[in-house]
């Protein structure tokens, strides 16, 4: 029994416990917080950003960093919306969107892995470059939403659970399985843990590094489709700034920013905690403008705890 408890005592699980506790406490202070409509709302809000978080976690575990994620999401979302509006069948449009974001992810990866430009700079530049590219394509106009065309994706439910949330959880499960149960996934951990050791042991470091950003691009593309189910329309300035929440969720969930350790489930619980916290601000009558402060503090706290516990690559 003791052994079982010990195995369950992981960061993600502790986070889950804290999350439940948090919800219960806020619920005690403001009972309407516990209404199913609210709780499902939290899940829905968290779903889209959560998927970005999953992409971010994967990249960070591999020792990288991707700040361009939100732009990639927008690229895909806009590509899908515009092509559907132009009459292209929905499945084809979705494929196009995925292709667009995956290509940009590949570009990121190539610059980082093969030209050895620091990830922070490449993805920071790509963040702005893709917005600019969108601008050129869009010209500032408002894109009509395609919720109705996406049909069941937008409105479907399995029991009380919206399809989007299922996609989110499904992605989490799949990516987690990939990371934990395939060779490539384990190589990502190895590379993030000690790139020199990986190289010396024959891990194809450049290719693995490239794959991080390609996968991230693909997942962002998927997120873009999910985003479309949630909004009646969007323009160029939409979805800006969420990359930091994705990173916050990753860090809170126990993934080390130095790479080599982490879990998708931690990120899932982390993003749920963040959105539960944001929602609680409303119910507790705290000005919602303090959201970002909460995010910033949680990030720094989580990183500081990691660093103080000595998460350095080589002892």
């Amino acid at each position: 029994m003791k052994a079982l408890l010990h195995r369950l005592d992981t960061r993600p699980n502790r986070l889950l416990g804290f999350l439940c506790l948090f919800v219960l406490i806020v619920g005690a202070l403001a009972p309407r917080y516990l209404l199913p409509a609210n709780l499902i709302g939290i899940f829905l809000s968290a779903a889209v950003v959560g998927m970005v978080g999953i992409a971010e976690t994967l990249v960070i575990i591999g020792g990288g960093l991707d700040i361009s994620v939100t732009s990639l999401v927008m690229v895909s979302a806009l590509a899908v919306a515009m092509t559907i509006s132009a009459g292209v069948p929905v499945p084809v449009a979705i494929v196009l969107g995925l292709l667009a974001s995956t290509l940009m992810g590949t570009l990121n990866g190539t610059l980082i892995a093969f030209l050895k430009i620091p990830a922070i700079i490449v993805t920071l530049a790509m963040l702005r470059i893709s917005r600019g590219a969108i601008m050129i394509g869009l010209g500032g106009s408002f894109v009509r939403g395609v919720q109705s065309e996406l049909g069941v994706l937008s409105t479907g439910h399995v029991g009380p659970v919206p399809v989007v949330v299922l996609v989110f959880l499904g992605t989490a499960v799949l990516v987690s399985a990939f990371l934990n149960w395939t060779r490539w996934g384990r190589m990502i951990f190895v590379m993030g843990g000690n790139q020199t050791a990986a190289d010396l042991s024959g891990v194809p470091v450049k290719t693995v590094q490239l794959s991080l950003y390609v996968i991230s691009g693909f997942l962002c593309g998927l997120t873009g489709v999910c985003l479309l189910t949630r909004v009646p329309g969007m323009d160029i300035s939409y979805f800006q700034g969420f990359e930091f929440i994705a990173i916050a969720a990753t860090v809170i969930g126990g993934t080390s920013l130095l790479g080599g350790a982490g879990s998708i489930s931690g990120t899932v619980f982390g993003v749920l905690l963040l959105y539960a916290a944001y929602a609680s601000l409303v119910f507790l009558r705290i000005d919602a403008a303090w959201q970002n402060t909460v995010t910033g503090m949680l990030i720094l706290l989580a990183v500081a705890m990691d660093v103080l516990r000595g998460r350095k690559a080589n002892a």
Binding site: L65, I247, D287, T293, V303
Partner: protein, 333 residues
């Protein structure tokens, strides 16, 4: 590598053709990229909009723009000199402007409000410095997190509202003139001169370059590395604060998102100006900023959207780094 071979000249270097040496000097000059960019920008900008190259624009448009970004570039450049990167500059700009604006609205005298706000900027920088030295956080991550924190605090205390219609005394910082020159231009000139002086002609400047060029060797040489780093980050925060004051004074409005997204341009400008770990000068950074500011000004007059402008800067950033890494040889500090 030079070998101690007896048959070389006493200076140990093969004597080259004079003209070849001059050409190599130009090619290797770290300012080549900037100058090229500047000239091409002026040409393109004038083509897009003939009003670009007029005195009126240069005076009120370009110079103002350049100055504000210039102070910000100084802030970023200082951190880059010691091999760091500061992603919180934009948030500090917003926060400091806001603190000044809100204090003034609450009745605090302009002078005290400005001083307090600048102190806040310095404290933000200090926090960054402590995160990097005491907690050994990589500057990327520390300033990413602190940037969100500072931005969040700014948003929280202001509720997203702007402090507008500020008194003339405050507006002077952004709109006034000292003689024929805009106030912020004078401020920039003073700051750049002071910093350039410190970097080039004081022992502390040598310390900074040494830390950027080889932190271990700097430590072994008796330089108090941690102390210097904290001071650099604090100074950087202070400079970001100055930018916040000047910008909010010019817009006559202090809002938390005043500096949002500015980091990309600042980093690109600094890199263009030859700033790197242990190398670069304050004037060089200004040159880089001049190129970027000219570019942005020209594009704005040409009717190009902000997002596309950012895109172009992003492309320049990546291109500059590729050039630096693969085409240009190592440069002297």
């Amino acid at each position: 590598m030079l070998e101690d071979q007896p048959h070389h000249s006493s200076s140990g270097v093969k004597i080259t053709d004079r003209s070849r040496a001059a050409w190599t000097q130009i090619w290797q000059s770290r300012y080549l990229t900037v100058v090229v960019l500047l000239i091409s920008t002026l040409v393109v900008g004038t083509l897009l909009n003939p009003a670009f190259f007029t005195l009126a624009n240069l005076d009120s448009g370009l110079v103002i723009f350049f100055v504000e970004l210039g102070i910000g570039t100084l802030a970023e450049a200082l951190v880059m000199l010691v091999n760091g990167i500061d992603l919180s500059v934009g948030s500090v700009i917003g926060l400091v402007g806001l603190v000044a604006g809100m204090s003034i609205k609450a009745g605090v005298p302009v002078g005290i409000a400005v001083a307090a706000a600048l102190a806040v900027g310095a404290i933000c920088g200090l926090i960054n410095g402590l995160l990097v030295t005491r907690l050994s956080m990589p500057s990327v991550i520390a300033t990413l997190g602190s940037g969100i924190l500072f931005g969040g605090i700014a948003l929280g205390i202001s509720g997203g509202q702007a402090s507008a219609r500020l008194p003339a005394a405050y507006q002077w910082f952004g709109q006034g003139r000292l003689g024929v020159l805009p106030v912020q231009f004078v401020i920039l000139v003073i700051l750049v001169s002071v910093i350039h002086f410190i970097l080039s002609s004081t022992p502390y400047g040598r310390w900074v370059y040494a830390i950027g060029g080889g932190e271990t060797a700097a430590h072994f040489s008796g330089i108090p590395v941690k102390r210097v780093l904290v001071i650099i980050y604090t100074l950087s925060g202070f400079l970001a604060g100055v930018t916040g004051i000047v910008m909010s004074a010019r817009f006559n409005s202090a809002k938390s998102n005043l500096g949002a997204g500015i980091e990309l341009g600042l980093i690109t400008a600094a890199l263009l100006g030859g700033i790197g770990g242990g190398q670069g000068t304050a004037f060089g950074a200004m040159l880089g900023m001049l190129a970027i500011a000219t570019l942005q000004n020209g594009l704005t007059l040409g009717g190009v959207n902000m997002n596309v402008q950012a895109m172009i800067i992003g492309v320049i950033l990546v291109t500059v780094i590729v050039i630096e890494r693969y085409l240009a040889p190592k440069r002297l500090a």
